[in-house]
């Protein structure tokens, strides 16, 4: 049975190892989809709806078609159809230059009859609101869940809290916008450079769409600039590029504009929770009653976790979706968790305060996770929890400091469906190939580490090929923090099998049984006689004209799902300007076996930064007057920059020697930790994100 072995035996696994692609990325050598340029390539753009809701009366493409340099214009809707959100596709153009394509869009004549719209949850649920989809009152049927005896629970409660928590829609803000470069080598063979999280998923989608065999579509994603759950399919833009490419017989590049990226490429749905909860005098959560909703735009899927992490025996929850004339939600880093965590961790603090209990102690009582119990101790120590205000807002001076804590959980155990090959060539070179994709998580480097560990080589000795469906070695999409736990076991077993084969070649030379062979550093030796050794290249030289090429298998025993995390925040609030500065975040994250401790820490850092953005800055702002998103840019849609990023103490919390993904969980506990720290600093609770200066100043004024 395969195992990752003891930490003391690992030369590479679990150590801090620089990303193999780091140098290419910082020097610009790394090619992202945006950087791909093909001979004869055309540039495509999409004309989108300016309005939130309208019926298409007429489309005329002729003027655009007549513009010199335009090679193809196609409609993406038709007269009589409805456009249901700003940004929805109307038509597309392919032209010799991007400028010509942009000019051509303005020559497309579109006649729209505008319809009443709702772009906010409040407007959608108003009594006289126009119904915009097949939901009465624009609300889906509520999902109701009841457990235990909620009335008995409230009777037992010594204290209750009733509150409403809200998180707005957040967009993914992938630094590389969605897009593809498509090229038909003939009418049955398509190559796509895609900015995607799912090379094989995109391959299969294109194959279905264009009715060609899947093995005649090749999808390549060598590097990609962020997906966060929004890049699993080709999207309208991908299909459009391939269609334009087919019509013109030329390669086509179609990347979304920043504006379109905000409008149509997915978002994290909003959440509003009305909660009433009770706790017993000895600090047990005894009752939880929640009614809540969110909007995923015109689509459903606005779910969230409630209650979250902490156990409540008696509970009733009711949640539904609200339809609005806005772009569809898509999975976004730990879907449903950060917003649920913000509400739950705020609620926990409110209850603890009513009980007169330290919020950390209150959590300990209600948290059944042993891992998190240990993390609470470590995190509290690292942040200096004893320094917090025992009376919130009691600090003196204009700038007040406070501390808070939040928690999270995730799966990340991986799954079947990855095929890989590890090849050893006679010249000593090693290749590891699989159809996964490196979406910034560092899987390329993790693969190299695993193979190098197995062979006694350096990670840089391993040529890793991922992000290409060409070799026909499928792997799943990178979602749910599943990539490493899905891929690592297969790579490991493939490398083990290849090593075994190499040992079989070496054994006669060393005159030792295969079982007695081991790898050293760049050598193979006999365990019972360590002086009996060959170098790696001497060994591979025995292969002559052959190569060893072995596949691997997913092995349940090499991975495990389920992680716990907790974060502590220290903030400083300027009570004159309302500005919240996060001073420090301590992120204690259960990771299972971290193949590469450095990139695992990077994952945690990135999660914390994203969580910080959601807590303090980010919000899709929809205008009820015009139906438009007012901040579909990076000026008014604010993401954290260097000034916002605090000291982050990322602690890789080792729990076991099995691989678990950790891409999503670190962005979860940040929200509650910061929000609770703000409360601890100023003594006023802000129950609506983001916590911007206007909200802080308004809250302080109301308190005064």
């Amino acid at each position: 049975m395969a195992s990752w072995g003891e930490a003391s035996q690992s030369r590479l696994i679990g150590k801090r190892i620089s990303r193999l692609s780091g140098k290419d990325k910082v020097t610009g050598k790394a090619k992202y989809t945006y950087d791909i340029n093909r001979p004869g390539m055309l540039y495509a753009r999409i004309l989108r709806s300016d309005v939130a809701h309208a019926t298409v009366m007429d489309i005329d493409l002729s003027q655009a078609e007549a513009l010199p340099g335009v090679k193809a214009v196609i409609p993406l809707t038709e007269a009589g159809r409805n456009l249901r959100y700003q940004g929805q596709e109307i038509a597309a153009v392919a032209a010799e230059t991007d400028d010509i394509a942009k000019d051509a869009l303005r020559l497309i004549y579109v006649e729209l009859e505008e319809l009443p719209f709702v772009v906010t949850e409040a407007d959608a649920m108003a009594e006289d609101a126009p119904q915009i989809r097949d939901w009465e009152g624009n609300q889906s049927n509520p999902g109701v869940n009841e457990q235990g005896d909620i009335e008995a629970g409230f009777k037992e409660a010594a204290v209750t809290v009733e509150a409403t928590y809200h998180t707005p829609v957040q967009t993914h803000v992938c630094l590389e916008t969605h897009g593809n470069v498509t090229e038909w080598t003939d009418d049955q063979n398509l190559t796509v450079w895609a900015s995607t999280q799912a090379v094989f998923g995109v391959r299969n989608d294109f194959a279905r769409r264009f009715e060609i065999p899947a093995n005649q579509v090749r999808v390549i994603t060598e590097h990609m600039g962020g997906g966060f759950g929004s890049k699993f399919g080709p999207g309208v833009e991908g299909h459009t590029a391939a269609q334009l490419s087919r019509i013109t017989g030329q390669p086509v590049k179609l990347m979304l504009t920043r504006r379109a990226e905000h409008l149509v490429a997915g978002n994290r749905p909003s959440m509003t929770q009305h909660v009433k909860a009770g706790a017993s005098s000895d600090g047990r959560l005894v009752a939880y009653d929640m009614r809540g909703y969110g909007t995923g735009g015109i689509s459903s899927g606005a779910g969230f976790q409630a209650p979250y992490v902490y156990h409540v025996e008696n509970r009733k929850t009711e949640r539904f979706n609200v339809a609005t004339n806005a772009g569809n939600q898509r999975a976004m880093r730990a879907p449903g968790h950060p917003q649920g965590a913000f509400a739950m961790d705020s609620l926990m603090d409110e209850l603890a305060e009513k009980l007169g209990m330290n919020p950390l102690e209150f959590r300990r009582i209600n948290d059944s996770s042993e891992v998190r119990q240990a993390q609470y101790t470590l995190g509290a120590q690292e942040i200096g929890w004893h320094r917090r205000n025992t009376i919130p807002g009691s600090g003196t001076g204009v700038k007040k400091r406070g501390m808070g804590v939040g928690s999270g959980q995730w799966g990340g155990g991986g799954g079947r469906g990855t095929q890989a090959r590890v090849t050893i060539n006679a010249d000593g070179t090693v290749e590891a190939v699989t159809g996964t994709q490196d979406i910034g998580t560092g899987i390329r480097t993790a693969i190299a580490i695993i193979v190098a560990e197995e062979f006694g080589l350096a990670p840089t000795d391993i040529s890793v090929k991922v992000g290409d469906s060409g070799p026909g070695l499928p792997s799943g999409g990178s979602g749910g923090s599943q990539t490493t736990a899905s891929v690592a076991p297969v790579i490991k077993t493939a490398a083990m099998a290849a090593k075994q084969k190499l040992f079989e070649h070496v054994a006669p030379l060393l005159k030792a049984p295969v079982d007695d062979l081991r790898v050293g550093t760049g050598t193979i030796y006999v365990a019972s006689d360590r002086t009996n050794t060959v170098t790696w290249n001497q060994a591979t030289g025995l292969l002559g004209q052959e190569s060893i090429s072995e596949g691997g298998e997913w092995d349940q025993e090499l991975r495990q799902g389920g992680v716990a995390g907790t974060q502590f925040a220290e903030v400083e609030v300027d009570t004159q300007t309302g500005h919240v500065q996060v001073l420090k975040i301590v992120a204690v994250q259960d990771c299972g076996l971290a193949i590469n401790r450095l990139t695992t820490e990077s994952q945690i850092n990135g999660g914390v930064i994203m969580g910080l953005g959601q807590t303090l800055l980010e919000e899709r702002i929809m205008d009820p007057q015009t139906g438009r998103m007012l901040n579909a840019n990076l000026e008014d849609y604010k993401v954290p920059g260097t000034y916002e990023i605090p000291e982050i103490k990322s602690i890789v919390f080792d729990t076991h020697r099995k691989v678990t993904g950790v891409g999503e969980p670190p962005c979860i506990p940040t929200l509650g930790a910061i929000a609770n720290a703000v409360y601890n600093a100023i003594g006023v609770r802000i129950r609506e994100l983001p916590i911007t200066p206007d909200k802080v100043l308004t809250a302080l004024a109301e308190k005064a």
Binding site: Q576, G578, P624, Q625, G641, E644
Partner: protein
């Protein structure tokens, strides 16, 4: 953006004569382009011709002498921010310039461009919204989302002037030299900016055929302390939610004279004579500075979403006054 022809400027005379045939927006001037390019890309402006001012000689330098500063309109924001004399004697100006945008933008953005930049209002910047400023019927901020809009002097257009440098220059009592077909004139920077009640479409008094060429800043008295405070949602880059340019003549803890100009709260840089009066001749302490803040905002007229700016402005003024008398 629309196609345009591009002309390199050779002399001010040539520029003003090219401009003289033009109404607003047909022929436009470009220097750093950090604002104009975005307007062109968003089709907010669609000029037929751009005149490149960067080829004009002798307009990109700073000279300092006993009487004050002369700063050419083509001087970059970065040069102003990093100039040692400005940092020492005209601190408010250096701090305001340093607070602008990002290093990349400061390195190309010019003084003239900073003063003539257009509003950031999200209705104005959306091509598809025909707002009052662009010749439409209404200012959408009045009934719409107005978090970043004006609390002073808005009627009928509630934009805020986005410049950080302008409030600093006004607080320093600077003048601006303008050249037109009829020759040159020098006016106070304070008089350069206008409110929407006078002209809803423009933010200053420039005619379509005039060009800003230089700014003069008189040397402050030796007992002057000046500073720029800028509140924003994000450390950088971000425009001011509210800002205060304060120039104080202080003796000990006594404020002998105060010049206080606000940014981010009105369609033009907004001098607060109420705050100045409340501070002048007073020994500055917590209650005097607080009173100055209160006085400054007593006539504020917030919209639906920007009541917080009233508090913020008040607090920034108090803070500036306290900082003026602290070591």
């Amino acid at each position: 953006m629309e196609k345009f022809s591009y002309v390199n400027a050779t002399s001010l005379k040539q520029v003003t004569s090219l401009l003289s045939d033009s109404g607003w927006g047909e022929i436009m001037m470009i220097a750093g382009g950090t604002d104009l390019l975005a307007e062109l890309k968003e089709y907010i402006e669609t000029p037929k011709t751009l005149i490149n001012l960067k080829t004009l000689p002798g307009m990109d330098s700073i000279s300092a002498d006993a009487s004050g500063l002369k700063i050419g309109a083509l001087t970059t924001v970065a040069e102003i921010a990093m100039h040692p004399t400005i940092q020492h004697h005209y601190t408010v100006l250096a701090q305001a310039a340093a607070s602008v945008a990002t290093p990349q933008i400061r390195n190309v953005g010019t003084l003239g461009g900073n003063l003539c930049q257009r509003p950031r209002c999200w209705y104005y910047r959306d091509e598809t919204v025909s707002c009052l400023k662009k010749g439409g019927d209404l200012c959408y901020a009045v009934e719409g989302l107005s978090k970043y809009h004006a609390i002073f002097g808005g009627d009928p257009v509630y934009i805020v002037h986005p410049s950080d440098i302008a409030p600093a220059l006004i607080a320093l009592n600077a003048s601006i030299k303008i050249v037109g077909p009829e020759g040159e004139k020098t006016i106070k920077v304070e008089e350069f900016f206008t409110l929407p009640a006078a002209n809803p479409f423009r933010e200053n008094v420039l005619e379509p055929n005039e060009i800003v060429v230089e700014v003069h800043v008189p040397k402050p008295n030796p007992n002057t302390k000046s500073l720029y405070l800028k509140a924003r949602e994000k450390g950088a880059p971000d425009f001011a939610l509210a800002s205060v340019a304060g120039v104080f003549e202080v003796m000990g803890r006594t404020c002998q004279a105060a010049s206080i100009v606000l940014g981010g709260v009105a369609p033009a840089p907004w001098r607060s004579t109420d705050a100045e009066t409340a501070l002048t001749g007073k020994m500055i302490n917590d209650s005097v500075s607080a009173k100055a803040g209160e006085e400054a905002v007593k006539n504020a007229q917030p919209l639906n979403d920007n009541e917080y700016k009233v508090t913020l402005t008040q607090n920034l003024i108090s803070r500036a006054a306290m900082m003026a008398v602290s070591k």
